[in-house]
Symmetry: C2
Amino acid sequence: MQQNRHVEKHFAAPDLIRDIVIGMADGLTVPFALAAGLSGTVSNTHLVIIAGLAEIAAGSIAMGLGGYLAARTDREHYLSELAREQREIIELPDREREEVAEVLRGWAIPEESITSAVDAISRDSERWVDFMMKYELGLEEPDPKRARNSSLTIGISYIVGGIIPLSPYLFIQQPNVALIISVIVTIISLFIFGLVKGKFTGARPLKSAWQTTLIGSVAAGVAFIIAKLIS
Amino acid sequence: MQQNRHVEKHFAAPDLIRDIVIGMADGLTVPFALAAGLSGTVSNTHLVIIAGLAEIAAGSIAMGLGGYLAARTDREHYLSELAREQREIIELPDREREEVAEVLRGWAIPEESITSAVDAISRDSERWVDFMMKYELGLEEPDPKRARNSSLTIGISYIVGGIIPLSPYLFIQQPNVALIISVIVTIISLFIFGLVKGKFTGARPLKSAWQTTLIGSVAAGVAFIIAKLIS
């Protein structure tokens, strides 16, 4: 059982899957809702396609580029804190030793073991800085390549997700008919996506499936009503 | 200096500010880009307003409701893991003690201090379970009220952010004129928002300001070009 849990934990969220889930969840939902909202107010599907594609472009750039720049800022923050810690263990070693002891006390390490533990940690300056970064500041080193790949995956997943609800409008001229097909296709997609997502994130798949479907349906329903009311 | 940093860290990201930033960043960007994209292809602003409001509804629901349901799932996951740990320290105490020792070894606690530290931690069953949850599984107890408030704040911030780029279209009939006003108003808003965000998140305010402005401008520019190309 113990063994099972550890295997499960390890398997629970590969970064690639996580990024696909993040991008596709929003991609399936927002363009779907926008297209549904517009369908009730326009006479042909051309405008739904224009608005839908504009939204997909905007959403994927906001998520992808936004995520990339945020990750770059995180990395700069990490490196500047690292340089500071490296300076401080040389300039203020006693204070930094005391900070290690504080962290250990926070973990309920008994007082009589603290001095020897602090000695062991501060013997090696690289390990010492590592310890401070991870446990005093709670910072892990961000991987720069990972930030780029992650943003790209999120952006592309948003596009793929968004194309699904939009595709019926490409082939069908009457907005009402296209809307019905789009609703059927997207609800099925959201449900399957939720099942797969639940499987990978460790949540119960059926619950994840109905939640994902609910979010998309509520968003589309409200967008439809709002568009009808003001058109 | 040390003191400064700690004060700064403490002040860096209050939850409320974090939620407002998350919601408003997307709210200022995506409806702005969608409205800009549509402005090049429609003869009056009515349709821009319908699409914009439908997008704001969809985006705020996807972010707000999506965030709320994800937080609820996290909490259920936390509670089921908690119940499992509580069972395991009774049913498999030796294995759980060994797991505490493993965590301590991972922190470079010297071997001679480990037994006494494990004794101290496992003496009190509540502290023991706490230790396992936090340091073996890396789980913090999620606050249910916080999840609800957070989702509401993110959703409302998205709406407030989205209303800004859309507002010129409410008062001006010609899409081209409304677009110019919307671009000016939104670029200024993105810049100010980026400055404030930088101040609160600890990034350099000017850098944060131009990044936020860049994301919004690129998204709007690409949406405009795509809409023009297919209209």
